[in-house]
Amino acid sequence: MGKVMLEVKELTTKYVTRFNEDVYAVDHVSLKIEEGKSLGIAGESGCGKSTLALSLMGYYFSPLHYTSGDIIIDGVNISGMKPDEVRKSILGNEIAYIPQAAMNALNPTQKIIRFVEDVIHAHDPKKSKKEIYDMAVERFKVLGLPPEVLQRHAVELSGGMKQRTVIAISTILSPKVLIADEPSSALDVTSQKMVIKMMRELMEKGFIKSMIFITHELPLLYNVTDDIMVMYAGQIVEKGSAKEMVFDPVHPYSKGLMGSIIVPEAGTREVKLEAIPGTPPNLKNPPDGCRFAARCKYAKLECRTYDVPEKEFRDGRMYRCIHDVEYLKEVYGRDE
């Protein structure tokens, strides 16, 4: 077992609306990533995956607020740290972020190199411009970006170049954890593949030590990450290795997610696509019991009354459903 880079215990964060209502978008989420590993988080729009990405960084902007739980990066618990301290020593340095809208992530009126200088100076004010330039040239080269890019403004770069520039800037300080929030969802399939390949490369070269990849496309994760977590209505509903999650999902929601997309693997070609009926619950008033019950084919009366705990049924394999694994396997077999 490798060194644990990021461990999150029972993290809960909430949005406070302007009418002072609490919306728990991340509800008691626990996860663990070892050095050199990557974790994928999948789920529908609005399930809380992007909020989880923001929450994991340990620095909160209104309307997002921290409620409880621990975030431990390489043995250091950052949940108790002062926000300014987190910003100065953790953000960008230990834990880095690639935003959903990488296209607009760069200040339109600033040269790329000036921004790189600002990022590095935020953590190491003494570094000279020359050192920073050399560092940037080297890292940009790894991502296939020529040094000229540094002298350009964001508007002068193509979409793919902007994307790579953002990845290069995010990882320039070699963070221990990289959180990529749908970095490829705005790109076409070829560019998506390239982004993923580059992120893998960064990890192999040791520029990043671990990675969290957030997406709504489960099969994309299969090619990218070691483990996959499926999120529904702010909670983790199933966790496992990428292969198991794609080919042997246990939770009815993960099963539904896999059934609603085409996996370009042998044996899955003949499968008929099926949509999951209904919409996710409003997190302002989450339903009692299992949050997926209203959309679940296999829901019983108890599902709607009792809270369902996370159940571990094999090493590293977890799901959140009142049914046994055997029962679920049986009904899935019957349905097919």
Binding site: L91, P99, T109, V119, H153
Partner: protein, 335 residues
């Protein structure tokens, strides 16, 4: 570089075309006004004279002197020809002073009043708007309605209120004029004090209105920029708020620069009424005098100066914009 030349070449061509049309309109429109300026001047000059043929002769002389005996197209050609020599003709009402003289004297008053007032108002307005956007809450709620009120106040309305409060009721400022009517322009302390006290009211009335408009624009631009993706991204890379605010305000300023250009360009025309209320000896007052007296060359000259200022201000801002905004620069190079 080639793109630039082409871009500005096209721009300048458009500006020249605009100027040509403006010159024509400036010439013909005043001359379509009802009334005969010469008749009024002659009436005044010949008060007490009874000899009808002599009056007729004087009238004829004036027509010839002003060139009004020729046809309009002929007059226009002479006018354009003189323009190239920098000659705007002779004023009817202040005969025999050349129009360039009359305008040159009044334009200085206008520029000296408006440029400082607009610049100061623009700076204060932008700072207040940015602070309101950043602080929100109490400060924002307190000053925003005030800005709204100020920005929607027409210049003459503000001028009337200022005159009423400070000159009529409180009697701490003079009622009108550019300096005391009993003084002659000179470098004496007495004259300078009088100059400043006459300057205050129109100056502050312009500043207040400018502050209101600029603050509202800056506030909404800043709020928009504060929520931009690059702000979020910069924060999550650990960059300090102070630095990020630097990015935000630089970007929020860009449209404000256009606002500055527009107010500088239109300052003369836009404040004719305010100048009239304060009887400030600027170009607005001169233009008004020209219109009431049917002084065609003076009207054409004044409006030509206003047109030129608007065009020059726009062109300068266009060039400046390319320097400060790389997006505009890229667009200019591409054309």
């Amino acid at each position: 570089m080639k793109g630039y030349v082409k871009y500005y070449g096209q721009k300048v061509a458009w500006y020249v075309l605009t100027l040509i049309i403006a010159v024509a309109l400036n010439f013909f429109l005043p001359r379509m006004m009802p009334g005969d300026p010469v008749r009024a001047i002659v009436n005044e000059a010949t008060t007490g004279m009874t000899n009808a043929s002599a009056i007729q002769q004087i009238e004829q002389q004036y027509y010839e002197r002003f060139g009004l005996d020729k046809s309009l197209p002929e007059q226009f050609l002479t006018y354009v020809g003189n323009l190239f020599k920098g000659d705007l003709g002779t004023s009817f009402t202040q005969y025999p002073r050349p129009v360039t003289d009359v305008i040159g004297e009044s334009v200085i008053w206008t520029l000296a009043l408006q440029i400082p007032a607009i610049l100061v108002g623009w700076f204060i307005g932008n700072i207040l708007g940015a602070v309101a956007a950043y602080l929100r809450k109490g400060f924002d709620k307190a000053v925003m309605p005030l800005f709204m009120f100020l920005s929607n106040m027409p210049a003459f309305g503000m001028a009337i209120i200022m005159v009423w409060v400070f000159a009529v009721t409180l009697k701490i400022a003079p009622l009108s004029g550019g300096y005391g009517y009993d003084l002659l322009p000179s470098f004496t302390p007495e004259f300078i004090v009088s100059l400043i006290s006459h300057y205050a009211l129109p100056f502050f009335s312009i500043i207040l209105i400018t502050i209101g408009g600029q603050a509202i624009g800056m506030r909404s631009m800043s709020i928009y920029e504060l929520n931009a993706d690059y702000v979020k991204y910069s924060r999550f890379l650990g960059i300090k708020d102070r630095k990020i605010i630097g990015y935000v305000f630089r970007n929020a300023m860009l449209p404000q620069v256009t606002g500055l250009a527009l107010s500088l360009g239109t300052m003369i025309g836009g404040n004719i009424v305010a100048e009239t209320i304060f009887s400030y000896p600027g170009i607005g007052t001169t233009l008004l005098a020209g219109i009431t007296g049917g002084d065609y060359p003076l009207i054409s000259g004044s409006t030509l100066i206003i047109t030129l200022m608007v065009l020059v201000a726009n062109l300068v801002i266009e060039i400046l914009y390319g320097v400060i905004d790389p997006r505009v620069k890229a667009a200019q190079q591409d054309s």
